[in-house]
Symmetry: C2
């Protein structure tokens, strides 16, 4: 199936989660041996998991974090503390198992899948690397579009297919992740457009810019918005013009997972910008997304406020890779265990009080 | 050893954690393959774990949550949505493995130890129950002291001994928990005294009081403070007068763990009030405490603000039992894994940038 047809079919298969299913999940939670709703947000996560998966006892079981990797021409404008070469070095690190995402995914019992979707240089064959390169690096958004519409659809198709394969392999919980030196710049650009906010409110220091670097980055994003103004007719076009290959891949993963009725844990700042593109493409996808954490990247709080969303964790992390998603997967599995394993009041002979 | 001698010896063995050890832990963290400090609070947790345990690679391994159980005479004043009988029913539930703490501790790989330290009625023999009852229920604090000084020292000694046994059994991470219908009332009373705040700022709805119940509870606590004013000369005396058996047990556990250089995860509102008593007894104990979460109980935020502390999680939980501690143990183990397992920049041939 060509990318456009796959995209259309995927979006047509995403349906909002039934409020009735959420209500029914709460009925069980309210009969468990604890004061009503005393597990707070954990109960909301449990109820949503039940509703999303359609399972009264959601078995989280197999989990997978997808690390989409891409490069960014805009790095030549001086927007990152690290050079693009670090992207490839970090891919080696992922494949060797020594990166933060490897450690945290192991802890969560999740697999890590690393996908070259847009690396500048060919990383060569590696058994554990998924080679789905759509383009050798996104264009410099300060001078033109990051991708053509076709390239963006191609990258989304990669994400959709990874979600479909995962569902076929009985993966029950998907997590987003990324690596791409410079990618907080396109992420901030997307947030500025999708949230209709000034650049200054969504830009941040990324991997560690100083004040001067932050000024440069702000101006570069403003320039990118001006240069690409004519390319932002719809959400797919905006993602193509201002995003990047790995951001489009994450957007596709969110859409693909929702089409398969699978919950997705969205990592941090970059992943949220990508998920926001998916939400603008298809608002119903939101029901399937669980936002892992509040990043230390300044614009992330704006995202949560504007969209009325709540992150699971707030640990001041700003690493990406899917690290926040891996930690949050543990909490989601805790939530599922509550509804699956706790005794009811009837079991122990208490009549619920207030 | 008598309780007073055990208490004195324990407090004398608690030493502040060396800032040099924390600094050294950060040196390693700053060489791992991630932008400097990009794992935020997770790195602070890792550095503190290294410093507290004195292990460059802290092996969390064996974990245990201690559920101290006690009753409260003040329940007769109408301060709780549930009757005291629920305490014993929940103990049965803990021993049967069906309570929230059982489920969440299993998920975290932690053992659960249930201790009758102050239950009103004798629960009878049960293989898994630690029988260390100091007194059959705390006195009604609205009419007099909860405990004598000797009873409070006896309950603290139970906690100290549980920590010592745990250390002997190679438990590397301890978590506090409690069950005791009515115990958010003594907890709020302790916070009012230790933080020097009006009752209205530290009182909350507990397991589910309505507005009228909250008014009653506020007046009862104000009365308790007035009635016991003469009994609050020092922190031990305050804990005895306004606390409860399980609160004193948790206070003892914190002191005992710190004396053994073991980190303690402090659960929610009740546990924090108990830990605060330990901090007033011996300020250095603070270095060994990791606060699990921000409870939905109103006064908990006041505690964190006043003491300049930061909880690991904020999930709107208000259940107690040690449920927040069990979830936070997973995050602490994640933090330890980061420092233990990640590759360094030298390993993968990157020269750290900014």
């Amino acid at each position: 199936m060509n990318p456009q047809a796959l995209f259309d079919q995927t979006v047509s298969r995403i349906h909002p989660v039934s409020p009735e299913a959420v209500k029914k999940a709460y009925e069980r939670l309210d009969n468990l041996t604890k004061p009503r709703r005393s597990l707070g947000y954990l109960e909301e996560l449990a109820a949503r998991l039940v509703a999303v998966t359609g399972q009264a006892r959601p078995a989280v079981g197999k989990k997978r974090v997808f690390v989409f990797v891409g490069d960014h021409g805009v790095v030549e404008e001086g927007v990152s503390a690290y050079p693009s070469e670090v992207t490839a070095l970090m891919v080696k690190n992922f494949l060797g198992g020594g990166a933060a995402i490897n450690v945290l995914a192991r802890r969560a019992g999740a697999e890590v899948e690393v996908i070259d979707i847009g690396m500048k240089d060919d990383p060569g064959a590696a058994p554990a690397l998924i080679c789905s390169n759509v383009k050798r690096g996104a264009g410099n958004i300060a001078r033109g579009p990051a991708m053509t519409r076709e390239e963006a659809l191609g990258a989304m198709a990669v994400g959709i297919r990874r979600a479909t394969v995962a569902a076929q392999e009985q993966v029950m919980l998907l997590g987003t992740g990324e690596m791409g030196i410079g990618n907080s710049t396109p992420a901030a650009a997307l947030l500025a457009v999708f949230l209709n906010l000034p650049v200054a409110q969504v830009v941040g220091r990324g991997t560690g810019l100083d004040d001067k670097g932050l000024q440069v980055k702000t101006r570069v994003i403003e320039k990118a918005l001006a240069v690409n103004r004519g390319h932002c007719a719809g959400p797919v076009e905006t993602l193509a013009a201002l995003g990047g290959l790995e951001l489009a891949g994450i957007c596709g993963l969110c859409l693909g997972a929702a089409a398969q009725s699978r919950p997705v844990v969205v990592d941090g700042f970059i992943s949220s910008a990508s998920a926001l593109a998916a939400m603008r493409i298809c608002p119903a996808v939101k029901d399937y997304l669980f936002f892992a954490h509040m990043s230390a990247e300044a614009g992330h709080r704006q995202f949560f406020t504007s969209e009325g969303l709540r992150p699971i964790l707030d640990l001041g992390m700003r690493l990406g890779e899917g690290t926040g998603a891996a930690i949050a997967m543990q909490i989601l599995e805790d939530a599922a265990a509550i509804t699956n394993e706790m005794a009811t009041f009837a079991d122990i002979g208490i009549t619920p009080g207030a």
